[in-house]
Each structure stands twice: as C-alpha cells, then as structure tokens.
Symmetry: C2
Subunit: 322 residues, 2 copies
C-alpha cells in the first residue's frame, strides 16, 4: 500500500490475482453447453459432434489495442470476437471460451472486471460462456483467448476447397474499422458508427454455419483485409479470385467519412481489416443464404487475386494501427 | 536491421511473426486425434466422448520462469505440462494444446523454435499435438497454453466429491521442484535431478484417467503444494483431511539435499508446488491403482487440513520463486 486513495488501492494486487479471476468468471450465466464451469482444474464443455473446433489469439496493449481509444469492455469484446469469428469461419457454432489475462499488479480491479464484462457480453452474443480463466502478473496487459466450437455433423470449411467456377461472397461489414481508424488517427471521436467498429467488431457468427450448410467450399474471416484474406483462400486452394467492385457495397457512412477525410472508401472496403466479416466461396449454382452478397468469382490459379480483372496497385495488407 | 551479426539478425522481427508461428507449428507430427492441424482459421480435434475438457494457463518471463535458470525448451515443456496436468486431474486423457506466444521483436528466432520444440516434446509425451498457435509482439515473453482432453465416458473428477471415510492418495513427485529451487537459489546447479524438477515437471498424466476408473471421488494436481491443494479439495468437498507423515515418501535425494542445505525435506514434500503430482480421494475399500500411494484420510469438515492430526505450523502456501 502506498498511500493512494481507497479507490486507487482496489488493484489487482490488493484483490489477489487468484481471487480476482475467480470473482470475474464465477457465477456468470452459462449456456447449456457448459457442463462444468469455472473453479475446478478444468471446465467441461459439450461437444455433441464428437469433434471440437479450437482456435487461439493473443492481444497485447499497445500492439492490438489502446485504452485511450477503447474502453476495457470494448477490448474484452474484441478479444473474444476475433476468436469466435475464427470458429464461425470453419462453419462451426461457437460453444465456449477460456481467457488468460496478464496485467501489472497496480492495474485497477475495476479495469479487469470491465474487461471480463466485455468478454462475457460478446460470449453471450454468440450464446457461449466464459468457462475458465487464468490471471497472472505481467508488465503490460496481455489477453489470450481460446474459443471452442461444434461442427454439428458438417465437415469443417477450410481455406483449401475453392474451385474455379465457384462464386465468392461475403457476409458482414467491410472497411468500417479502417474508416474508424482513420477518424481516430486524426483525433476525432465520431461518427460513432465507424469509431465503434474500430473498437470492436460485430462478426456475423451465425453466417458461418449457415454458409457451411449452403455448401460453402472455402471460408475465412476477414481479419487482415478482404484482398489479403481472399489471397489466403487463393493460395490454400490453388485458385485465382477476381473481385468485382460494382458488386461491393460501399455504405453511405463510409462514403461520407471518405469525403470528409479525403480518402477512398473503396480502398477501406478492399483492404481494411479487423471487421471480421466472413468471406466464402460457393458452387456457382448456390442460392446464397440471407446476408451473403456475391462479390466475385473463383478463377484458374494463374491470376492471383485481382480487382475487376486487374492487379490491385495499392497496399493490400492491412496495417494495424501500430 | 541494426548491423548485428547475421546470427543476431535471425530474430522474430526478421522472420516475421506470422511466418515464424507457422514454421514452428506446421509439419510437426500429430496424433490421430488431430483431425485438422495448424494453418487454417481453427483446428479440429476429436472429442469422441461428446464432451471436451478445457483449461488454460499463462506463464510470464520473470514471474513464472527465468531463462537464466531454464532453457527455452524447459520453459516450453513446463508451460504445456502444467496444463496437461490440469486435464489429467479431471480424469481426462489430454488430446491437444494450442499455444500463444508474445515476445519482443528482437527475440532470437532460435529461442522461439526451442520454446515450441519443448512444447511439442511435452505434448508428445502425453501423445497429444500442438494443433494451433498465435504469435504477437510483447514487451516480455508471455506464453499462453490451452489444453483439451477427453473423458472417455467417465464423469469428470472434480474437487468437490470427497467424503468422510475416503482415503487420500498421491501419484507423482512431491517436493522435488522445491528442493531444486532451494539449490538454484543458493547458486548451485546440481544435483541435476532436483534442479531439472524445478525447470519442468513430469506429471503422471496417465494416472488421472486411471484414478477416475478406480473410482476417485475428488482429484487435483499439486501446483501450489500438497497441503494447499488438499485444502482446495477440503473446501470444495466440505470435508477435513489428515495427512500421515509416516506414509509420505521422502526420497533419499531430497534427504541428501536437505542435509546439504540445512533444510527439512518433509517441508518440501508437504508444501512444495510445481511438481504437478496428482492428489485424489478414493472410497476406503479401493485397491489403489499402480503408482498411487495412500497418504491420509478424509475426515469430518471441522478440522481443515491437518498433518498427523495437528495443524501444520509452517507456511503452507507455495511461494513461487518470485
């Protein structure tokens, strides 16, 4: 104790790391798939399919998020969302997440509680539970999330199944987080729609299993940018992909922000990451499920990823704000 | 590039974080339970039981490990072992692990490779695979491991099922890591048996499912120290537990180290953590499985955890070397 105010003393160190992680994970509502929740050596989660989908991501303060741009709750939501989007991109229904949190001892306990509130809120949005966690001392805030999912009897939709002649489609927002980043980078805090999109994504979780049911041949979540992530499908599937810009929706909101900042909104849509939309390929005869929009075609492998039949000249790799 | 030698330039930054995690996880041998390994949005692992056991732990350089005392390979082994021990302590067979690694950009690529070599070696010792991973930039080395396991049709063995009249038994090493810590703390590097025990545990993974089959009523892995972890069982099960020191094996090696350092080896056995032995309770009529040793009894709840019927006067909580 160093003489700070009573409120300032309510830190991770004062609460005790063990006590705090238990306090923030125990007693939260759990879905029926959580057979044994937090508090024992491990949790037990239903895996009715007989297979389990698993993915993990680590987020670091100052690299993946800034607490002057985002609240702890936003950061918690994002940390869970990026993992659940990976589960959905396999065509699976998310079932649970476990969380690891590293932070300095003088981190306010309230910050950790808000962080876990955000994690639990996003888990709840996908009808999953935070079933376990660990909390440790570290020099900076580090968050590790692992998400599990169930395939419901379907084969996993990998990046490797696209075939020439397939159609390319997306579901979810593209370019919003990039527009929000441009706004925040200029010191603005509005429009709130794009700024919030930069703070945390709202991936269309249900669209993953729906696409799998509709026969998707390959799928990925758009974390690095549409062209970059379609590039992963093209590489894994050994195909070319062409995106038709006249099919790509550029929302009025992005056009407005682009006008205000003198930026090209189509570039955000093509290359902006972190919105965690889903991109997939389908056989050409597919009636696309609700929410999916056709944006291009799968071609022979020689061409790579093209835009309106041409190589895209500007930088395609999404540069995170670092 | 800053003019260092060619060898010194082979850093995480030079290799690229994405490339490195792929290089260190791809192409490693996988058990038959790995249905889809690293490289896609998520992995797919067999869960034949229809339920999956999941646990996560985070380890931080300078808090949980020191690279002047342990090699990167040892640290990787330990990070995986502590998680697989949690899976075993539920009575489950470990099936897979996913790993998150945060490290400074100037971390030598060889260090990361050795770290993952250690993770893969320990996963292999438990016949599981490293099925996925993430690698990010951080100010210090942070490792997050999540382990999955399969219950094989058995109910999970929680901490909450011990009943008065049950016997208490352990399987695996106790006090070895604590003895090793004492040795290292005095600047010695031998005897190698206890020093290596401090560097990485060798949990008896198979003993967890075996104990479950034999009817274990409660189980935990000994990470904080025997008395502290039996205290978790006592609290969760609302029972008392008495440990009989004449039943507790104190290996000659620990006696020798204790004599050399003027320390009590029994104290290491009772309170030393980080060996990740398994402790369990069984119905009194149980023929204990091979490797399990009876060390005490479950009593009515009034007594807490006692040693030879008395409160244990010395500190029971394992203080990690920090």
């Amino acid at each position: 104790m160093d003489g700070r105010s009573a409120q300032g003393d309510d830190t991770v160190a004062a609460r005790g790391e063990f006590g705090l992680i238990r306090a923030v994970t125990a007693g939260r509502s759990q879905p029926s798939t959580t057979l044994l929740g937090p508090g024992d050596d491990a949790a037990v989660v239903a895996a009715p399919d007989g297979r389990v989908v698993v993915t993990t991501d680590m987020l670091v303060q100052g690299v993946h998020f800034r607490l002057d741009w985002s609240t702890p709750e936003h950061v918690g939501r994002r940390a869970v969302a990026v993992n659940l989007a990976d589960v959905a991109a396999m065509g699976a229904v998310p079932t649970s997440v476990v969380v690891g949190i590293g932070c300095p001892s003088d981190t306010p306990a309230a910050l950790v509680t808000e962080l876990v509130d955000g994690m639990a809120a996003e888990a709840g949005r996908a009808r999953t539970g935070v079933v376990g966690g660990d909390m440790v001392r570290a020099d900076q805030i580090v968050i590790s999330i692992t998400a599990l999912g169930d395939l419901g009897g379907r084969p996993p939709v990998t990046r490797a199944g696209a075939r020439p002649g397939d159609i390319v489609a997306v579901c979810g927002r593209l370019g919003w987080a990039a527009a929000g980043l441009a706004v925040l980078g200029r010191g603005f805090r509005s429009p709130v729609g794009v700024v919030n999109a930069q703070r945390y994504p709202e991936p269309p979780y249900a669209a993953g299993p729906t696409a799998a049911l509709a026969g998707a041949t390959a799928m990925i979540d758009v974390s690095d940018g549409l062209l970059a992530d379609l590039g992963h499908i093209a590489e894994s599937s050994d195909v070319g992909i062409d995106v038709q810009t006249d099919r790509l929706p550029v929302p009025q909101k992005l056009t407005d922000v682009g006008s205000a900042l003198g930026a090209d909104p189509l570039h955000w849509v093509l290359t902006g990451g972190e919105d965690h939309a889903l991109a997939a390929t389908f056989p050409s005869f597919t009636d696309l499920p609700e929410g999916w929009i056709r944006i291009g075609s799968v071609l022979l492998p020689d061409t790579g990823v093209t835009v309106d039949g041409q190589a895209y000249e500007r930088e395609t790799g999404w540069e995170h704000w670092r």
